[in-house]
Structure formats: structure tokens, C-alpha cells
């Protein structure tokens, strides 16, 4: 299977919420690409815009949220269905067979799809798994009805038996015994519910699955099991995953590429090995070092001082600069854009430290706090509680 082709390209997308006291830029000029069969991890804290971004890509946003600019280009497989016709579809069971021809595939802008095309697009090309399975499953319908519902809506040519067979096959895929097909959601355990959600997402063999914190509410053991299975399924069926979470240490284990978001902006993109070995952005570095380690020496650690900004009052310039120990004068005035630091490393970072024009001295050798002067006098246990919030001027 060719892993080097893009399946999704997001270019400069902006999502704004029109609140009564000004506009909130929930997602600000975010661009990234997703390759086939790749796991992209989107990490960020509260208010970083990662969930909004996911909803924007799948066009699930409602007013007052508006996508004000940008495009989301989706590359269909050549042998895939025509998005314009909803009826006759080829049933794909093993996408590896699909020949990736060298002809250029004309990408489609998801944001410009008509309602009809969107219905064809949703769930067949892109599926979503939400955080809480209990929110996604209808408590008064059993599993079979919910799974065949999806099949009925998108594949009217399937007969009832075919649908039941497909539902059983999906359950088997995710590791639920097929005799649980008629169970109600409350009869299933948390892990099984999440697995059934994943099964529903896989019903039409989508190309992209967006998962929004799918395992946060689950036990560590169940989480590990589900993720292992998910990755095995990905290898088997060939879809790509956008995995959204705040748990960066988990992402480093399962994702191929990691994108870090802060206050609606993308601050760093890198492969997970590169990110864990050399994190370039001070925020990423701080985030990586916010997770106490299980092994190794016990050191005093500190998080990042201050707290994530309220999106209604994002600091000017680089939104991270009030919390950044390396901030200098340019950080307060200029908004950093994603810079390609090293073509081979495929690592992009939005930080003025790496901007040769603004920072001729070059980036610091190490982002560790110990490298700063007067490190000894820092009482890390003190913590710093309050970074002032600077309100934006009202939009006239």
C-alpha cells in the first residue's frame, strides 16, 4: 500500500465564534496534511481548538461557529465512488487492492461540498468517533439497530440479511462477540461501548477516521487494548486516523506524526520520534516535561507557568509568550508562522527563536529551564499562579 500519498490537506483554515462581546478565533490559520494509513495526533489543552478543528473538517459546526477561510482538500482513491451519485457504490473490503495509479487525483474541497455530496461523503469517506460512547449511542435502541441504521442510510442496495452479516463482521473486527449484537448500550461495559462506536465508524470502510479523545473516559488497561486493536485494524484496512487528545505521552506511542495546538494555532508539527527527542517549540518542550516519568531518576519537575489563555483575550503576537521563558521583544508583536526547520526532519515550528531574521543569534542550545541563568534560585515548588489576561480591544 502506498503510504506516501496525501489523503487530506488542510490549508489555512480559520474558525471563528461570533460571541456577543467580540469574535473568538477558535482555530487560527491551521494547515497540515494527512497521508494514507497515517496516524496524526492532535495534541493540545483546553481552548487549543483541536476539537473545533476536527468538527470543522467534518463540517459539523453550527452557528455561531463559522469557518471564515481555508480549504480542506480530500483526495479520493481512484477506484472509489463518485461523490455525486449516492446509489451505486462499489463495496470495498480490502482497499489494498485498489491500484494507486499515477494519474493525479483531483482533490475535492470538503468545505464546498453540496448537501447531497456531503451525505455521500460522510461516513463513507470520513467517520468520527466521539469522546463518550454513551453520548453517541442511543440508549433505547440495541446495537443491531444502530449499526444497520448506518448501513441502511448509505447503502440502500444491501438487503436485510447482508446488513446483519456486515454488522456481525464489524463486531468481530473490533473484538465483540457477535452474540452481543442485540444488546442495549447500558448492558455493555465502557470498553465494549467504545468498541461498538468504532465498529459503527468502520461500517462503510472510510478512508479517514477522526477520533476525539476516544479513550479518555476509560481505564488505562482497556484504553491500551482498544488502541492496540485500532492500530492493527488500521494496518489491515488501510485508513488514516486523526487522533485528538490532551495526553501527549500516549500520542508519542501511537501516532506517526504529532501536531501541537495552542490557543487555536498550530505551534509544532513533527514525527513522534523527532518530537520526543528534539522538541523545538518551548511549549512542546514544557508539555513533554509535564508528564512525570515512570522510570529514571526522580527529579523535581515543573509544568508551564500560567494557564492556557482565554480565547476571548489571546495575548498579542505569539499567544504563548507570557508563559515562555525564551520570549523576546519580537514575540509580543509578531505572530509566528510555521517554519520549516529542516527539510529532512519534516519538523515545522511556529516560533521566532527559529526565525533567522528576528533572532539572528539562533535558537538556544537547549530548551531546558536549567539552562537559564539563576536557575538555582527558582523555587519550583512555588509555582506561579497568575498570568494577567490582556483583553483585546473591542472590534468596532
Amino acid at each position: 500500500m502506498n503510504n506516501n500519498t496525501n489523503v487530506l490537506e488542510v490549508n489555512s483554515i480559520c474558525v471563528d465564534y461570533a460571541a456577543s462581546n467580540g469574535t473568538v478565533h477558535a482555530v487560527d490559520n491551521v494547515s497540515f496534511t494527512l497521508k494514507r494509513g497515517e496516524v496524526l495526533g492532535l495534541a493540545g489543552e483546553s481552548g487549543s481548538g483541536k476539537s473545533t478543528l476536527a468538527y470543522a473538517i467534518s463540517r459539523l459546526l453550527r452557528p455561531p461557529a463559522l469557518i471564515t477561510q481555508g480549504e480542506v482538500l480530500y483526495y479520493q482513491r481512484k477506484s472509489a465512488r463518485d461523490l455525486n451519485s449516492m446509489t451505486q457504490h462499489d463495496f470495498k473490503s480490502t482497499p489494498q487492492n485498489a491500484a494507486e495509479s499515477s494519474d493525479a487525483i483531483e482533490p475535492v474541497d470538503i468545505l464546498k461540498l453540496t448537501q447531497k455530496q456531503l451525505r455521500a461523503f460522510r461516513w463513507q469517506e470520513l467517520a468520527m468517533v466521539f469522546q463518550s460512547a454513551m453520548n453517541a449511542l442511543n440508549p433505547v435502541l440495541n446495537l443491531e439497530v444502530q449499526m444497520t441504521d448506518v448501513l441502511k442510510a448509505h447503502r440502500p442496495d444491501m438487503s436485510k440479511d447482508e446488513r446483519a452479516a456486515r454488522a456481525k463482521e464489524l463486531l468481530r473486527l473490533v473484538g465483540i462477540a457477535p452474540d452481543r449484537l442485540r444488546s442495549y448500550p447500558h448492558e455493555l461495559s465502557g470498553g465494549m461501548r467504545q468498541r461498538s462506536i468504532i465498529a459503527i465508524a468502520l461500517a462503510l470502510s472510510p478512508e479517514i477516521i477522526i477520533m476525539d479523545e476516544p479513550t479518555t473516559a476509560l481505564d488505562v488497561v482497556v484504553q491500551r487494548d482498544i488502541l492496540t486493536e485500532l492500530l492493527a485494524l488500521k494496518d489491515q484496512l488501510g485508513f488514516s486516523i486523526i487522533f485528538i487528545t490532551h495526553d501527549l505521552s500516549l500520542l508519542l506511542e501511537i501516532a506517526d506524526k504529532v501536531a501541537i495546538m495552542y490557543a487555536g494555532k498550530l505551534v509544532e508539527t513533527a514525527s513522534s520520534e523527532n518530537l520526543s527527542e528534539h522538541a523545538l517549540h518551548p511549549y512542546t518542550y514544557g508539555l513533554l516535561h509535564s508528564f512525570p516519568s515512570l522510570h529514571g531518576p526522580r527529579r523535581k519537575m515543573t509544568g508551564i507557568p500560567g494557564s492556557p489563555p482565554d480565547l476571548r483575550a489571546v495575548p498579542p503576537g505569539c499567544p504563548f509568550h507570557p508563559r515562555c521563558h525564551f520570549a523576546f521583544s519580537a514575540c509580543k508583536t509578531n505572530v509566528p508562522t510555521l517554519l520549516n526547520t529542516d527539510a529532512q526532519m519534516q519538523q515545522h515550528v511556529a516560533c521566532h527563536l527559529y526565525d533567522a531574521t528576528l533572532n539572528p543569534a539562533g535558537p538556544p542550545a537547549s530548551l531546558a529551564r536549567e539552562a537559564l541563568p539563576n536557575a538555582d534560585s527558582y523555587d519550583y515548588a512555588q509555582g506561579t499562579a497568575m498570568i494577567p489576561v490582556i483583553r483585546k480591544e473591542k472590534l468596532s
Binding site: 461570533a18 478565533h25 498579542p316 508563559r323 508562522t337 543569534a361 527558582y378 490582556i390
Partner: protein, 359 residues
Amino acid sequence: MSKSEMDGEYPQDTAVQDKYELLSPVPLPHEQPFDDGIPAVLPVDVTYKAIPVRKRGLLPRLGLWWQATMTTLAANPKMLTGVCILGFFVLVAIFGPLLLRHDPAAFSNDLFQPPSSTHWLGTTQKGEDIFSQVVVGTRASLLVGFVSAVGATALSVFFGMITGYFAGLVDDILSLVMNIFLVIPSLPLAIVLASFIPFKGPGPIIIVLLITSWAWGARVLRSQTLTMRSRDFVQAARAVGETPAHIIFAEILPNEIALVSASFVSTFIYTILADITLEFLGLGDVSVTSWGNILYWAQNDQALLTGGWWLFIPPGLCIALLGAGLAFLNYGIDDLANPRLRKERKPRPVKAAKKEATA
């Protein structure tokens, strides 16, 4: 890249609430003695110029509250309508009787006259001016309804919250009482009670209405309190050592004010209508001027059959208008209490976003 280069000021905003200037981006941790008087060492490059918080007096507090109310009303046209209607009737009740030309109880020689320039709403069979009667009657009707509603709400708050907080035996007994009062239809019960009381007047009506209208609000508040008592902040208050009375009335009740207000307004509507019903049936003091009594006399004098529409339509319209106004008020409280019900305005196109200069 040293700290000394990080000078400069941030743009100030104009909001008064909390503002301070920070003259360096990151406050450095500093030595702090344990018992915290003045810190022993203040680092050189961190200075906070905080605006001291004044303890606000009563008048400025009222001013802020007024401002907040006006803003909410402006944003909520339904509530504004309700407030205007209610306000109008309250003003009529307070000031109306002072500005009347005719004494409402005075018999005149113009018997059964339709509205004219001398009698704006006509006269009754006995020559009383209906307009004056309606204006004076506002006071009695509103007062009885208001007092009953306040009393019933107080009873429902008390019983509902006590029942909800102390589950167990107290809950079982009081719930039983509540259920009894809920099952018996309130208006027929009120009629029966009022007809048994030997003396007539606003007092017995108030008592009767109190007895019959507290149960519904109590039930609602009970279920709300039941959910609230397992909330963390209530548990935390218990852990800190608060007495149950304090927890109920100072911790839980302020969170349920919206519910209590809605319950009060609904009860108010009910008590006004019930009061008018009772008086229409002659169970009130028929010598006191009130809307219900106007209707009673109108019915007595066969107004419908004789075509005297001005005898019953004006008070009827007033009742309907007041009821509608209170219902609007209730809608508004719903909107205020539950932010999810607030309609999101369609977003206006965002003018060219102010992007800061990029590198």
C-alpha cells in the same frame, strides 16, 4: 534575550473590572515567609501595579445591579414586555386611585350607560363608574394575589428544600403531605374551603390560596435540592463544618433562585386567577371593589343578556393582560436561568480580522 530586553507595556483595555499592568512577562517565584506578612524579598523586575479593590457601598452595588438588569432586559424582549405590563399595573394600583374623578362606590344617575366622555368605561346598573372601579380594583386584586403568591412560595421553598435535603423519614412524611395536596385539585378545594369559612374578605382568600398552591413549587424544589445535595460544593460545605440550615439557605438556595422566581411568577398567575374566580363566585367580600367583584356584580345584573359588554370586558381584559404579562416574564426567567435556551444570533460577517503584523 535577557530579561532586561523584555520591557514594554501591553495595550490597555477600557473595562474597569480588573486591570493591572505587568511590566515584565513572567513573574519570578520569590521568597515567601511562611506566615506571610510582607514578602521578605521582592525581585527587581517584577512589579504589579494593581488597582486596589474598593469595598463597594450599597448605592454603587445597587447601581451595578440596575445596570445589569437593564442590560438583561434589553436583550430579552419577552421579559421586557412582561416587565412593562406588570409595571403598568403596579403603577395603576399605587397611583390610580389618587387620580380618579369619580368615586368608584358612588351611585350616580347615569344608570347602565355605555362608555362615554364622562364615564370612560360606562356605568353599572347602579350608576357606579366602571373605570374607577377597575382602577381601584387593581389594588385589591394585585395585593391579594401578591401576598398569596409570596406566602405560597415561602412555604414551598421551606418545605421543598427541607424535604430535599434531609432525605429519609422527613422526606417520606412531607412528600406524602405534598402529594395529597397535589392530587386534590386546587381550585375546587379553594372554593370548598372558602365557602366554609364563616367570614368573608381578602384574609380568608389569602389563607385558602396559600394552602392550595404551595405544593407544586415544593415538589419542584424538592427534586432540584435532591440533585444539588450530592454536588461537590455542598459536600465541601459539610466537610468544612456548616450547619444544615446554613447549607440549605445560604449555599443551595442561591443556586435555585431562578427556579424560585419562575415558581413565584407561576404561582402569582394562579393566585390572581383563583382570587378572581373566588370573588366571581361571591366567596369574597362583595363590598370591596376588585376585578372579581365587578364580574360578580356583572353576572348578578345579567350583563351578558342585557348586552352590557362594558361591564365585564374591561376587567376581563385586564385579567388577561396581567396574566399574559406575567407569562412573558416567566419566559424571560427561563431564558435567563438556562443559557442554552438563549437564541444565538446569526453571526454577523466578521470584518477583516485584525491580524497583527506577521514576520
